[in-house]
């Protein structure tokens, strides 16, 4: 019955993205997925576990997509850092973009001891580490500093875009990222 589990996961993911996590009840998820509460709880135990699974899957999908894009479209490892914000801009401006899971979840669950908040923070750190890895590959001396600067720019732009679609924040974020990368490359 893996298919049913996947269907609940996909349905919940879509509803969380478009309506918000707290605003989406279990009743709505099972109704849209065409299943029952009993089945949902059989696979996920609770709504919180379902939220955590949606976040994990969403983050994995995002990382895999970005990794594939950068690996397939660059010849040198150093090019990946330069292209990072190009692909992020393409993704954020696409019609299907509804926000970044860990950024939205962090805002909806601000309490630090909440497991959803903790996973969101962990995923934010993982993304920063990914940029750190790209910066190291590009021989950036201060890879730690640059990865923090770029992740702050990324998260701020995505939050601005989530608040107002088509705001243009990501366009300026891309230019700012290039300025920072260029500056860090010369150090």
């Amino acid at each position: 019955m893996t298919g049913l589990r996947e269907k609940i996961l996909t349905t919940a993911s879509n509803l969380f993205q478009t309506q918000g996590i707290n605003s989406t009840g279990v009743d709505t998820i099972v109704a849209v997925a065409g299943t029952t509460k009993m089945t949902l709880y059989k696979y996920f135990g609770s709504k919180e576990v379902l939220i955590l699974e949606v976040l994990k899957q969403g983050h994995l999908d995002f990382q895999n997509w970005l990794n594939d894009k950068l690996s397939n479209n660059t010849k040198q490892p150093s090019e990946k850092l330069q292209k990072l914000f190009d692909y992020i801009e393409e993704w954020v401006t696409s019609p299907d973009f509804h926000g970044v899971g860990f950024i939205k979840a962090s805002a909806e669950f601000p309490q630090e001891d909440n497991p959803v908040h903790q996973l969101s923070s962990q995923q934010s750190q993982q993304f920063k580490q990914y940029i750190h890895h790209l910066a190291t590959e590009a021989n950036i001396k201060d890879a730690e500093g640059l990865s923090l600067q770029l992740s702050l720019i990324f998260e701020g732009a995505v939050q601005a875009e989530q608040m107002k679609r088509g705001s243009g924040a990501i366009k300026y974020a891309k230019t700012a990222a290039k300025i920072l990368i260029d500056g860090a490359s010369k150090q």
Binding site: G145, Q149, L152, I153, A173, I179, L180, D182, G183
Partner: protein
């Protein structure tokens, strides 16, 4: 600071920002210095909260500053800066040693540059990817120029090879050709890289009294003050003095490694 006050949306913060600098850019960037400084103050961490990302008072103030500095889209610049400040302050509270607010300041500065120098992205790309093309173009221009200038202007012809040699470099050549030309992104990033390096060391600055009057102003504002020069002519002068500064980085590095 009152209990449960929102540090990022307080009239106190606006007051602190207003007196922090006499330029809108300086006031925007001071936000990060003030937060970095204030979050270390006694009892502040226990009593301030940043639960909401909506800081209307601060946002409106930042929009006014962004408008004053001529940003392409002041609302987006202000919003992005406030979001970065909020996120970095949260990180600073969770991990006080992360230095997140100072990195956020760098990010905010890059965002300001991205909105105030529209040609910046193009300039960065071209400067990085097509130096040979620039060299060829400079050679062609000079060759045509040289063919137009004949014997009566022989001394000008003699200077052409020198200009050509300089054209293959970056801003020194631009200074020679068009003295009042605005700075490119590359100039700005190089300058900021120098300032950043200097901040990590203990530096000895040249004596101001020995400088010509025009140089004094540029030296104080652009070298000591860390503000970007307005044009390439000023940049060349600033670079001249930057080269004279002697820095010792060892003690600071040792301190940072503790």
């Amino acid at each position: 600071m009152h209990e449960d006050s929102d540090l990022l949306d307080s009239s106190w913060l606006i007051y602190m920002l207003a007196k922090s600098s006499n330029t809108p850019e300086g006031r925007l960037l001071s936000l990060f210095d003030i937060l970095n400084d204030w979050l270390k103050a006694p009892n502040v961490l226990q009593h301030c909260h940043l639960s909401s990302a909506n800081h209307a008072l601060l946002l409106n103030y930042c929009i006014a500053q962004a408008q004053a500095l001529g940003a392409e889209n002041p609302e987006i610049l202000a919003e992005h800066i406030v979001l970065i400040a909020h996120n970095a302050a949260q990180q600073n509270i969770a991990h006080p040693l992360s230095n997140s607010l100072m990195h956020a300041k760098k990010a905010a500065n890059a965002l300001i540059l991205a909105q105030t120098q529209p040609a910046i992205a193009v300039t960065v790309k071209r400067a990085n990817t097509k130096p040979i093309a620039y060299g060829i173009a400079a050679t062609l221009v000079l060759a045509i120029g040289a063919s137009l200038i004949w014997a009566p202007f022989m001394h000008e012809q003699q200077s052409a090879p020198q200009m050509h040699a300089e054209a293959s470099n970056t801003h020194s050549s631009k200074h020679a050709v068009t003295p009042a030309q605005a700075l490119t992104a590359q100039d700005a990033t190089q300058m900021y890289a120098k300032f950043e390096l200097m901040r990590q060391g203990s530096c000895q600055f040249p004596e101001v009294l020995q400088m010509p009057d025009k140089h004094k102003a540029i030296y104080l504002e652009n070298v000591v003050g860390g503000k970007l020069p307005a044009n390439l002519e000023d940049l060349a002068i600033a670079n001249q003095y930057l080269a004279k500064i002697r820095c010792n980085y060892t003690p600071m590095l040792m301190a940072a490694s503790k």
